[in-house]
Symmetry: C2
Subunit: 110 residues, 2 copies
DNA sequence: ACATCAAATTAGCATATACTAATGCATTAG
DNA sequence: CTAATGCATTAGTATATGCTAATTTGATGT
């Protein structure tokens, strides 16, 4: 091990395909319960809870307990370390900026 | 395991801090040999070779053998899967676009 | 030819990780 | 109060991973 920065937690959290899939499902919904995430995930509820814990520690998701359910939502700022890291290599992906360019236009018109 | 896409190889390759450090050193130079990468890395030459192999399989570096040395260089397009993945969540990092905005200006003036 | 050097590969080991099954802990329903 | 529900946590296990030390492979130098 060489460092233990936030980028580390983020990259480790997103390295696992199952966990990345969980994150994507959380992102694609406003809020979603553990039970709903478990359905169709291919793993047990316990595994989902473990993945959510990892994502939470990485700052990628947040929870909102309600009764005996717990709703999870994506945490936008959690991706910041990764965005910053990418930014550092941005000269590399100049050619892939078409979408971003469009996005910037949208932001400008907000 | 749920999938085995290129994003998977890239994320796994960049998940390890030591390997990420190797990549950064490769990026920061035009070309660099295994021996040079080994110096100051804190791990053995064998370990560095292993990390380079992983990075190569992920498409993040390329090699140029010359005599008994092998020069490694960064492979820009290897980051494309990660850039695309980030792009998918771009609505999340709207607020972190200042640098990109500057970069786009530079590109526009090329 | 022989020794040396650079890098890749291998075997072995220790740790980390992803998972399941089982259990624990609140909360709600009857 | 008791049972059931939703989620977290734990123990245990199998596999993956990162590392070292040693060896192999290939190229250069003497």
């Amino acid at each position: 091990m060489i460092q233990a920065a936030p980028i580390d937690a983020v990259m480790r959290a997103l390295a696992d395909p199952t966990r990345r899939a969980v994150f994507q499902r959380v992102v694609s919904t406003d809020e979603i319960t553990v039970a709903d995430l478990t359905h169709g995930s291919g793993v047990t509820q316990g595994a989902i809870s473990q993945h959510l814990k990892t994502l939470k520690l990485a700052g990628l998701v947040a929870e909102r307990p309600e009764g005996r359910k717990v709703y999870y939502r994506a945490e936008p700022e959690g991706l910041a370390p990764l965005a910053d890291w990418m930014n550092h290599y941005s000269v590399f992906w100049k050619d892939r900026f078409s979408n971003l360019r469009e996005l910037l236009k949208e932001i400008d018109h907000d």
